[in-house]
């Protein structure tokens, strides 16, 4: 049962890494979390009963590993209790030093910061499909929603993003 998982993991690992990165906020830490998640998945391969999809199962393992990492490193105590615990790393990356920020494309930073401000219900579906790279079906399984609901939430989030991105920035007004 483990052998197919070993063969299948490469197709999931980039997404697992991005999920971890979004939560822990540093490339090195995300690498560590993804590694730990892969190991846990391999160890627990026999417990995978197939009821949830493989992507859903690996997503949960990754999220749990990332939260374990945050707990261990005490980085979760940065006054971000209001967040759902899955955007902490992204916020940390957005708030990183000016030199790092300058390297990032302006529209990329703007889009990322707008994503963090999306309404809770549509943000999750949007993040899973647009940042982590899950398909609508996989996101539906992870969120326990129908595919149609995911599609509608992604659309709503995108509309908000489009509207916000069209707005002139404060600095550009004058």
């Amino acid at each position: 049962m483990t052998e197919p998982l070993v063969q299948e993991l490469p197709n999931h690992v980039a997404r697992m890494y991005r999920v971890a990165l979004r939560i822990v906020g540093s490339a090195d830490a995300a690498q560590e979390v993804a590694q730990e998640a892969c190991l846990k998945a391999l160890r627990a391969a026999e417990t995978f009963d197939g009821r949830a999809g493989r992507a859903t199962w690996l997503h949960r393992i990754t999220v749990n590993c990332a939260h374990d990492y945050l707990r261990k490193s005490r980085r979760a105590e940065r006054g971000r209790a209001a967040w759902d615990g899955e955007m902490v790393g992204m916020l940390a990356m957005l708030e990183s030093g000016p030199a790092e920020q300058a390297e990032r494309n302006e529209s990329y930073r703007l889009a990322l910061s707008l994503v963090t401000k999306l309404p809770d219900d549509c943000r999750s579906a949007f993040v899973l499909t647009q940042l982590d790279g899950y398909t609508y079906d996989e996101a539906a399984a992870i969120e326990n929603l129908s595919r149609g609901t995911v599609a509608s939430r992604v659309y709503r989030a995108r509309q908000i993003l489009v509207e916000q991105m069209q707005k002139p920035r404060v600095g550009e007004m004058s």
Partner: protein, 289 residues
């Protein structure tokens, strides 16, 4: 404006749904850009363009991948714990059974040990997880060989001929990727001087070390071990060839040579032609079967 052949091929892939989403979106955005003067105030065009831009803005995040290979190597502590648990379980079972059914209990105990072995074996065995992107990069390294008129010109590297296996435990900590190239019968028949499938064990590493592979004429077994170390801008390459002893471990392979290369100045092709060695951005380790 006339389209190039490449652009037409892109459009052809687009209509077949064969382009990755972000690339397909880029093609759409380009087409929209070209048609902007025709489309004018079309709402559909405006919506599509805005959505494409919003998706494009987040592309850098989607392109993020692990920079290193994921090596799922169990910590010794975890394995020890599993082992201890296993032995405790066995001891408990033994104690219960010793009450009167010693002989039958012995058989039962053996059954318990046997049934636990696969799980422990899985826990102890490191797994190397390589993303499709990394796999493509490895394939590209080997594809480069095809441009070099050398003994490895028939490598025919592509993603399907590359299999990945873990390196040995001590080496795994150095984050190698173990690449096992298994030549299929078809590929082997393309290589005139080879008959039948051969197995090559090559480990790509991060970094820019220029590594050598011995020519097939040097080592027919083609079990090679290359150890690059970089210092002062130079790369020292130690390679050992386990010729004929395909099942030997790396510690038994003799050191066959060591060269000091300037990776930044010496073109790989030039090195490839020199003393029949082909250079790759990869290193290789012997992998136990």
């Amino acid at each position: 404006m006339s389209l190039s052949e490449e652009e037409k091929i892109l459009l052809s892939q687009l209509v077949d749904g064969e382009l990755p989403v972000d690339q397909a979106n880029q093609v759409l955005a380009d087409v929209l850009g070209e048609l902007s003067h025709v489309l004018g105030s079309s709402e559909a065009a405006w919506q599509l363009n805005a959505m494409l831009q919003s998706r494009q803005a987040l592309a850098p995040w989607r392109q993020q991948e692990p920079s290193k290979t994921i090596v799922a190597l169990p910590s010794p502590l975890a394995v020890d714990r599993a082992s201890r648990f296993g032995w405790r379980l066995i001891a408990l079972v033994s104690a219960v059974l010793l009450g009167g059914i010693l002989v039958a209990g012995g058989f039962f105990l053996r059954g318990q040990i046997d049934s636990r072995e696969p799980a422990l074996a899985v826990a102890k065995r490191p797994a190397v997880i390589v993303t499709p992107q990394q796999r493509r990069e490895i394939a590209r390294v080997f594809a480069l060989h095809e441009s070099v008129a050398g003994p490895l010109s028939w490598y025919a590297a592509d993603e399907t001929t590359i299999q990945v296996a873990p390196a040995q435990q001590g080496e795994t900590m150095r984050q190698p990727i173990a690449v096992v190239l298994r030549l299929t019968q078809d590929l082997a028949s393309a290589a005139r001087r080879w008959s039948g499938p051969k197995t090559y064990v090559i480990v790509c590493r991060n970094g820019d070390a220029a590594i050598e592979l011995p020519s097939p004429a040097v080592a027919k077994a083609m079990r090679v071990r290359l150890l690059p170390t970089a210092a002062d801008g130079k790369v020292s390459v130690h390679y050992a060839i386990a010729a004929g002893g395909a099942d030997r471990g790396p510690e038994e392979a003799a050191l066959a040579g060591c060269r000091r290369l300037d990776s930044s100045q010496t073109p790989l092709g030039q090195l490839a032609l020199h003393d029949d060695l082909v250079n790759v951005d990869a290193s290789a380790w012997v992998i136990a079967n």
